[in-house]
């Protein structure tokens, strides 16, 4: 057990709470102190209501004193990406458009967290409307990578990754549409998981791309991620895309013994463009599985290079429609200089949206427009089916796939800002899973020579989170990369 409270995992804290060696108030006080000490350098939090956090902690301690425990995570804190609705809290989505918007309702995952006694520990920074891979597209502030302050934490869930990575909170929720949980998890050296599409409710998740978005857990251990997933997973009648499926006991699944799994390695993910250091670390991870009795199976996913263009057609198309509601009429930013109704739309949206959001709305509008719909959108959906089928075919032979999460470690902030295309292409390893609806988890597997984290990705079968977590846990049990916290000097 590490000496600092803020560096303990949720599982460790849970243990102490249970034994009476710890109180929730003590936990959150330690974390609030950590936030005070380091967030000035990181810039992860958008809102953190100290009093509200302490109030929830006191309530949790009172419950525990009465012998009531609402869940395994009762009394433990989770930070939320500011794209998840919390009643009476600002829901900015990192955008000027919603700068002053307060949600009048709870997302389903928020309700589940509350019912589980989890402490809602503030809202964290993100790329505007979840569009981006560096959190540089936030309208409010930049977030730094705790392991390399001049580097990006990844995106769009950069804030969610940074808070966990820096030890400000042991658990957070992010959202993943093209890799937005897994890529920042890899960049920041933590565990990040995107569930199967339909496992976690999207009601109250501000929509970016409806057929791709999923909320998922971010933590410093597989066990913690599993515990958080347990609370948020499950069918929701308020989300028509939510799957009616039994949610297994993920913690129970983790206790199972490792099996001689068949691990597929798709060759297309190890082609050129992959940073040498990343390649080396990921190959070490592969070697670990092989040497522990797993069969490493070479597979091919030929449509991999089509994934990025297909994604940027489908996601932007859906986004262009999902973001149409932001017009200043009912809520959100309303321009003060408009002449008439149409002008109000133009000006409010022009002032409220950032460049990347505008870029994607225009692209999405284009691919849906008359004369182009068949050539772009319909064709992209057809290729999407091919991509999914290739995965499912591979899963006839293997139990999971292992790939790098990103082609490089975290890039320097500002480096890709003027080159959106290069930013898009870096999503190559994460994006296919969103298109195929499959679950994926990123685990840290080492560092680059200059101390930037490197992650590898495990891809599982549809609704196969239990097995996926077990395979992930197997790696983690022999490595300690995840629960490392960077040295951050106190102050400012």
């Amino acid at each position: 057990m590490s000496s600092e409270i803020f560096s303990r995992t949720a599982a460790e804290l849970r243990h102490e709470l249970k034994n009476g060696d710890m109180t929730s108030v003590a936990v959150v006080e330690a974390l609030l102190a950590r936030v005070g000490a380091v967030d000035g350098q990181i810039g992860a939090f958008l809102h953190l209501d100290r009093d509200a956090v302490l109030e929830q902690a006191e309530a949790a301690d009172a419950r525990r004193a009465r012998g009531e425990q609402l869940s395994a995570l009762d009394g433990l804190p989770v930070a939320l990406k500011n794209v998840i609705a919390v009643k009476d809290r600002p829901l900015t989505c990192g955008s000027r458009m919603l700068k002053d918007f307060v949600s009048p309702y709870d997302a389903t995952v928020t309700r589940k967290l509350k019912e589980a006694g989890v402490i809602l520990f503030g809202d964290v920074n993100m790329d505007e409307f979840a569009m981006g891979s560096s959190t540089e597209n936030s309208a409010f502030q930049e977030t730094a990578n705790p392991w390399a302050l001049d580097c990006a934490p990844g995106g769009s869930s950069g804030g969610s990754a940074a808070v966990v990575s820096a030890g400000m909170v042991p658990l957070s929720l992010g959202s993943d549409t093209g890799g937005s949980i897994r890529q920042p998890a890899a960049f920041c050296g933590i565990v990040g998981m995107k569930p199967t599409y339909g496992l976690v409710s999207r009601f109250g998740l501000v929509a970016y791309a409806s057929s791709l978005d999923q909320i998922g857990p971010m933590a410093r251990s597989v066990e913690d991620a599993a515990a958080l997933l347990q609370i948020i997973a499950g069918h929701d009648h308020l989300d028509s895309t939510s799957m009616r499926t039994d949610v297994p006991d993920y913690e129970e699944a983790l206790r199972g013994h490792p099996a001689p799994w068949r691990i597929g390695v798709p060759k297309e993910y190890f082609a050129e463009g992959l940073d040498d250091e990343v390649k080396a670390r990921v190959e070490q991870a592969i070697e670990f599985y092989r040497s522990s009795g797993c069969e490493i199976v070479p597979v091919s996913l030929p449509s991999t290079d089509l994934a990025v263009p297909v994604y940027y057609i489908i996601a932007t198309a859906e986004a262009s429609s999902n973001l149409a509601r932001y017009d200043g009429v009912r809520y959100g930013h309303r321009s003060e200089v408009a002449d008439n109704a149409i002008d109000l739309y133009f000006k409010s949206r022009g002032e409220g949206f950032g460049e990347e959001v505008k870029r994607r709305i225009i692209l999405g509008t284009y691919v849906l427009s008359s004369g182009y719909y068949d050539a772009w959108y319909v064709r992209a959906q057809k290729v999407r089916t091919l991509i999914r089928n290739e995965f499912l075919t591979a899963f006839n032979q293997v139990d999971a796939l292992l790939t790098p999460t990103t082609p490089t470690p975290a890039f320097r902030r500002g480096e890709k800002k003027d080159d959106p295309l290069s930013m898009y292409l870096a999503d190559i390893f994460t994006i296919s899973l969103n298109l195929a609806g499959l679950p994926g988890i990123s685990l840290p597997c080492g560092f680059s020579g200059d101390g930037r984290p490197i992650g590898f990705q495990l891809i599982g079968k549809p609704f196969g989170e239990a097995e996926l977590l077990r395979i992930a846990r197997h790696y983690e049990s022999a490595h300690a990369h995840a629960n490392l916290i960077p040295e951050l000097s106190n102050g400012r």
Partner: protein
Amino acid sequence: MSAGNEKYEAVIGLEVHVQLKTRAKMFTRVPQGFGADPNALTDPVVLGLPGALPVLNKHAIEQSVKVGLIFGSAIPEVCKWDRKNYFYPDSPKNYQISQFDQPICVGGEVEIELPGESRNVMGEHKHIKLTRAHLEEDVGKLTHFDQDSLVDYNRAGTPLLEIVTEPDLHSADEAVALLQSLRMHLTAADISDCDMEKGQMRCDANVSVRLRGTDVLNKRTEMKNLNSITGVKNAISYEIRRQIKVVEAGGAVVQETRRWDADAGVTTSMRGKEEAHDYRYFPDPDLMPVKLGKETLKRLEGTLPEPVFVKQRRYIEEYDLPYTTTSVLAFDWELADFFESALREFGDAPKTVANYVVNELQRERSAADGDGLMPIESLRIAPAHIAELARLVEDATISKQTAKEVFVDMFSSGKMPAAIVKEKGLEDKTDTSEIEAICQQAIEGNPVAAQQVRDGNDKAINSFIGPVMKATGGRANPKVVRDTLAKLLKG
């Protein structure tokens, strides 16, 4: 000139939006309704708040399927949802969830009746083909003021069924008949109240003209949101005349949207105010396609009422009811129900029963209400009352004249007619000995007429009817009186 002229024929297609009767809105559980405080019937889904998602209202699906079944449409096994993208303040998400290429109903036809030569002659019947019917969500309501506009989202999200006809109509009268037929059938099946004043039924009309005898489809104009029957009739009539004038003068009809100005009685061009819309339809990724099984269709089929004109024809054939009676009965499902319930109690005299429903009942309902009809639910009488009254007349307990008095009494008191008759001693005298005695007296009182009858002048019997009826206080059964007189006079 609501139907073109000798040279030109009008070609009309209608898009009728019908608000479905469901408790809740199309994609969320907020109730739908008319007249609530502005923006009271809203929730995050209705308002399109960040993070809100739609959930299908199954009742709306069932109501729509029923419409298709009533009009013989095909109900495809699978239908799906598409987003119709356009920006407007009455549309909370700036897209409308609708159905583009896989609607819930395909094809079908609506029987309509045109006005006859006179009121009591059945008009021509036609079958108007439907292209399709699809489900969508309604939008909110904008009200414009000098400085600004206000929007009320109470109506937003209400389930709307858009019924599209083929360009099968050729006159304003036919268009009106189509709307009336829709209303009759949909109210009878409890699918919609189709009250145009409350916006429950709205109509867009596409109008063009062509030379008679040709079957080309020329450029058409579209008139949107005609919201009353007279509006539909007048707008279409005007537009037909206007287009013929344009063509006769050598001009060409411009394909455009036109606005009906009821006050001025003209349509005006909206060109320039509306740009061509590219709605960028694509399948809504928040909703699953809908699969309709055979069992569901069968079950819904079983809930359908008899189609209106089928009922009317049955009333004519089975009960030999006159046309005017059937058009009152068959076109008003509540009256038809009342009538048929009464027949179940006493089925021997459908004409009498029909008569009481169509005349007596309606008259009393009208008298009882200020400016309409007393609602059926508020009546003190039930079908059983009318059934019993008819029975009393048929078995000669009371005369038709007496029955009229009894009706008024029973309508206001709710008492059964037999009880009223007994109470007031209104039975017809059918005691033959008593009648014989009175007839005998009458005969003796008028020997001249008596002789005339004996000599073969049957008409002379009428002279005795008056005195006999007077002597019996109007209570003698006329048939019995006549027979008795005849027997006494001729032996």
